[in-house]
Each structure stands twice: as structure tokens, then as C-alpha cells.
């Protein structure tokens, strides 16, 4: 257990409302039978004294793509970084409320942060390969998680690179430095690195923010393939992208969840006036 791993972060003081199985909020008819992968109940998140997220309830469904949209600074990145406890790295932050992964509270005192991070992978805004070779980048996650068998390791590196649709382009130079790849390739490498440790959920934090349109399209295609096997959460400020790739969309504004529902419905008949204004470009 890596209990004392991040001493800066104050733990949630009380085991706020362990009411699972909790009532799903805003549940629409077509989601009733869906398996919930991540359950978020009544959370508030603070940086120091300022509240970044306020009273959010939400479900992330298994094998679906959930998009978070909203103007910049609305808290969408902060929100998904809670799912793999990445915010623990930031000093003076506090979380109230409950977040469950497969019905288990990931912020409970017995939770193994390191294992949670393996199960909930993350792809960052800016491609962040290590200054190592392509192979080493992908193998890194396997090694730190205790896989030493060389054959198994190689097989899974190749497999992951194939899954990330990168293998064909780089198969002759997997021992070259990852920093020599193009931005789009680097981002797919980061996806491969994430896939290698076999996560259940993958968080994408604006994965295309620094990419050109062609690379962006490749990543979007990849997302659609990946949802067959993974639960995907993607933060994007690009509404078209959300519409293209996601099954569910959440609209956040000023740290609040304004609307959450099936993408098609949310984009065509938003229930909330603010959502409508945002979608039609009236603000943001």
C-alpha cells in the first residue's frame, strides 16, 4: 500500500455519504441497464480556499466514451484528474464527496493509489514521452508493475503499439528516441504506453490540443476503436470533437455540472438554457 504517498493532500475528512448503490442522478431511460464504471457523488474540490468543483454527481458508463465540455477554466481537467488521483500531486487541495471505481471508494484510506493509477490510465494534453526509446517508453509501465519476463514484455509492447495504430509507422525504429517522433505520433505513443498496463478506464485530457487536424483525426478514430475494450473519458474544448466521438456528454461551467446526458440528445435538444447558449457559441 502506498498510503502515505502524498502527504500534501488532506484526505477527505469524513466518509461522506457511503450511500452506494446510490441513486443515479439525471438518469435517463436508456441508461438504466448500463454498467457504471465510475460513480461520482456530491463532490466538492478545493484549491486552498477556492472551490474549483461544486456538488457534482455523475456516472461514467462502461465501454462508452464520455466527453466533458465547457469553457476553459470550468474545472473539467481538474474533474477528471480526480479519477486517477492525479490531483494528489498538487499541494493544498481537498476533496469532499465520494468517487467510486467499480463500486469501491478510491479515496478511502485503504485504497492503493498506485494501483488505481494503473487501472485508470491517463493521456495528457501535451504529449509527454520520456526521453527514452519508443520501446522503453511503452515497456516502462510494465516494468514498474512487476513484469520481468522479456518475451511477455515485448509481446505486450508490440500489441500496445498496434492498438494505438502506431506500429506500422515505427516498427523499424522502436529503439530510437521517442522524442524524434512527430507530435501526433508522440501522442499515440503515450496512448500505447497507457494501454500497455491494461487499464480499465482511460482519461484523455484534451489529447488533441497540440495536434494538427490530420493527427487529430487519427486519434479520434482510435478512440472509437478503443471504446470496445475500455471506458473512456475525454476532456475537450472542441464541441465538434465531442459530438463526433462521444456517447455521453457532460457540460461543466464554473465548476458545476450543468447538464449530462446522451451526446446526441444534449447537442440537439439541450434541456438547460446555459448549455444551449454555450453550444450555439453565445459564450465561452
Amino acid at each position: 500500500m502506498d498510503k502515505q504517498a502524498f502527504p500534501h493532500t488532506a484526505r477527505r475528512p469524513q466518509s461522506a455519504g457511503r450511500q452506494s448503490p446510490a441513486q443515479s442522478p439525471q438518469k435517463t431511460d436508456d441508461t438504466r441497464d448500463m454498467a457504471v464504471r465510475i460513480r461520482v457523488r456530491n463532490i466538492d474540490f478545493y484549491y486552498g480556499n477556492s472551490r474549483a468543483l461544486e456538488k457534482i454527481d455523475m456516472d461514467i458508463y462502461k465501454n462508452r466514451v464520455t466527453a466533458m465540455i465547457g469553457p476553459s477554466g470550468c474545472g473539467k481537467s481538474t474533474f477528471i484528474r480526480l479519477f486517477n488521483r492525479m490531483n494528489d500531486l498538487i499541494p493544498h487541495t481537498r476533496l469532499d464527496g465520494l468517487i467510486e471505481l467499480d463500486n469501491r471508494d478510491i479515496y478511502s484510506s485503504g485504497a492503493d493509489v498506485v494501483d488505481i493509477r494503473r487501472r485508470v490510465g491517463m493521456v495528457f494534453q501535451k504529449p509527454n514521452p520520456f526521453p527514452k526509446s519508443i520501446f522503453e517508453n511503452v515497456a516502462y509501465g510494465l516494468e514498474v508493475n512487476g513484469i520481468r519476463n522479456k518475451k511477455l514484455k515485448e509481446a505486450r509492447v508490440v500489441d500496445s503499439l498496434k492498438k494505438a495504430a502506431l506500429w506500422e509507422e515505427i516498427k523499424d525504429r522502436i529503439h530510437e528516441s521517442a522524442l524524434r517522433l512527430s507530435g501526433g505520433q508522440q501522442q499515440r505513443l503515450c496512448i500505447a504506453r497507457c494501454l500497455a498496463v491494461d487499464p480499465e478506464v482511460i482519461l484523455f485530457d484534451e489529447p488533441c490540443a497540440s495536434l494538427d487536424p490530420i493527427s487529430t483525426r487519427k486519434i479520434e478514430e482510435l478512440l472509437l476503436e478503443l471504446k470496445e475494450s475500455y471506458t473512456i473519458v475525454i476532456v475537450t474544448h472542441n464541441m465538434q470533437q465531442a459530438a463526433r466521438v462521444s456517447d455521453y456528454t457532460a457540460f461543466l461551467y464554473m465548476g458545476k455540472l450543468i447538464e449530462f446526458g446522451e451526446t446526441q440528445k444534449l447537442f440537439t435538444v439541450p434541456r438547460n438554457k446555459m448549455t444551449e447558449e454555450y453550444l450555439t457559441g453565445k459564450f465561452g
Binding site: 494501483d115 490510465g121 495528457f124 520520456f130 526521453p131 514498474v144 508493475n145
Partner: protein, 292 residues
């Protein structure tokens, strides 16, 4: 604007002072050091096994002195690398803001203590302690010198290594944590390799400091100009030789020139260390994409 141009000229001239002094030191060392080679050949000087500058005829073999410097410097590395790098890692990775606020000034104070005080401390406390501990005839040995030099070089290593650790982009750590590495794995497999050249620079500069240190080794190494058999015997590093003997020489004598030649060798050694450190740190910044 004539005055403006005048000021510019003055500042330009003054700015080159360090270059001027550096060149001056080089010239002086060569001019005063080279004449010794009229008395003794270069290889005999560097490789000669005995240093008896005041005998008749004198022996100017500085191999024992070079070995003395080498021994204490290598010994110091065994102290300052773990302590310095360990302290830097602790400050950068584990210490909270409050601990940092206490520890960083401590490191600074340690760096500010004059070498004569270390030497004095070594002479009155550390050397007798080591003499008793290992039950050896004298406490002033290469080991004692290494120990003190190591502690003296620790702040240098710690502060430069800490700088280079803080340059490691946050995204590297995040990427490592995101695939389920724990903190130690992230530290040893991502952060340290990324800061590797910075840490090597720190170690080289620490070594450079240890090689050039004078008063401490003069006081605690025992001062015997013989080739040592073990770490627990007295040695006489190059710096100590210069400091101890310059006062007794006749200006312009062969001994005098020999001491300058030793100074020249010391100067060249530290110059090489600094240049290597500079090259490594420049490469390191390129590698991390930090520009020049």
C-alpha cells in the same frame, strides 16, 4: 551622445576583467612553473616517486603528491555523492515546504563555513576520534581528509543537483504516475535519469572543489609526502604541499618553481573539470528541450 559611448567603453573594458585575470593566472603559472623543467624532466617530475625539495641534490617527483590528492578526492566522493545527491533528492521529492525552509539554509550555512574551521574541527575532534576508533598510530590520514572534504563538498553537490532536479518537467512525473509507478520508481527510473547529466555536473564540480581545497587537507591529512599503502596513512595532497612549503622557499629557487608547477597542474585539473561540467550541463539542457 559621447558620454554614453564613454560609459559603454568603460563597462566593456571592466567586463573583461575576469578573462584578463584568468589569462593572467595562466601566464603567471606557466612563467613561474616552467623553469623547474630546466632542473628536472617532465616525466621525472610527474612520475618521480620521491619529493625531497630541500635535500642536496633535491628530488622533485610529485607522484606521491598527485596520488595524495587523488586518494582524498576519490575518498571524498564516497562521502559527498551519497550525502549531496541524497540531500538534493530529499529536498526535491520528500520535504514539505516547512522542512525545505529549514534544510536549505542549513545547507547554505554548511557551504559558508570557512575551510580553516573544517580543518581545525578535523584536527581537534575528528582525527583523534579516528585514531582511537581504528587504533592507528596517527589520526591524520587520507581517510580523515576524505571524510572532511566530503562533507565540505556536500553543499556544492546538493545545491547544483537540486537545481537540476527542479528542472525536470512535471509532465515526466505525471506520465510515470499515470501508468501506476510508485514514487520511488518514478524517482529512480524517470526523474534521476532525466536529471542525470545535471547530477553528474554537480558531482564533477564537487570533485573540483575537493581537489582544490587547501587548508583542510593541510591540517588533517598528516602531510607525509610518501605514496600511501592504505587509506589510514598520512598523505600530502598537492594543495597542502604548496601552502606548507611556499613560506620556506627562496624566491626564484628550483623549489619555488616546482611549487608553481604544482599549482599549474592543479589549475589545469580544475579547468578540465569545469569545462567538462559546462559541456555536460549544456547537453543536458538540450536533451530536456530547455534551449541553450
Amino acid at each position: 551622445m559621447n558620454r554614453e559611448r564613454l560609459y559603454r567603453w568603460i563597462f566593456t573594458a571592466l567586463a573583461f576583467s575576469s578573462l584578463f585575470f584568468l589569462v593572467g593566472i595562466t601566464v603567471v603559472l606557466f612563467k613561474e612553473g616552467l623553469p623547474v623543467f630546466r632542473e628536472v624532466g617532465l616525466f621525472e617530475f610527474l612520475g618521480g616517486k620521491s619529493w625531497y625539495p630541500t635535500y642536496e641534490p633535491p628530488d622533485f617527483g610529485i607522484r606521491p603528491l598527485i596520488l595524495g590528492s587523488l586518494w582524498v578526492t576519490v575518498g571524498a566522493l564516497f562521502v559527498c555523492v551519497p550525502l549531496g545527491v541524497g540531500t538534493a533528492l530529499y529536498l526535491n521529492e520528500l520535504a514539505g515546504p516547512r522542512q525545505r525552509a529549514v534544510l536549505k539554509p542549513i545547507v547554505e550555512v554548511l557551504a559558508g563555513i570557512p575551510s580553516i574551521v573544517y580543518g581545525f574541527f578535523g584536527m581537534v575532534l575528528v582525527a583523534p576520534f579516528i585514531q582511537d576508533l581504528f587504533n592507528i598510530p596517527v589520526g591524520q590520514t587520507a581517510f580523515t581528509g576524505s571524510l572532511l572534504l566530503g562533507v565540505m563538498a556536500t553543499p556544492t553537490v546538493a545545491s547544483i543537483a537540486e537545481d537540476s532536479l527542479s528542472f525536470v518537467p512535471k509532465s515526466f512525473r505525471e506520465a510515470s504516475f499515470a501508468v501506476g509507478a510508485n514514487r520511488w520508481q518514478t524517482l529512480t527510473r524517470v526523474v534521476i535519469p532525466a536529471a542525470g547529466s545535471g547530477i553528474s555536473t554537480a558531482i564533477i564540480l564537487g570533485m573540483s572543489r575537493a581537489v582544490g581545497e587547501t587548508m583542510t587537507v593541510l591540517m588533517v591529512c598528516g602531510g607525509a609526502a610518501v605514496i600511501p599503502d592504505s587509506f589510514f596513512e598520512p598523505v600530502r595532497p598537492m594543495t597542502a604541499t604548496i601552502a606548507a612549503e611556499m613560506g620556506e622557499t627562496v624566491m626564484g629557487s628550483a623549489h619555488y618553481h616546482a611549487l608553481f608547477a604544482i599549482g599549474l597542474i592543479l589549475f589545469l585539473i580544475t579547468l578540465v573539470f569545469n569545462v567538462v561540467a559546462e559541456i555536460i550541463s549544456r547537453r543536458y539542457r538540450l536533451k530536456l528541450g530547455l534551449g541553450r
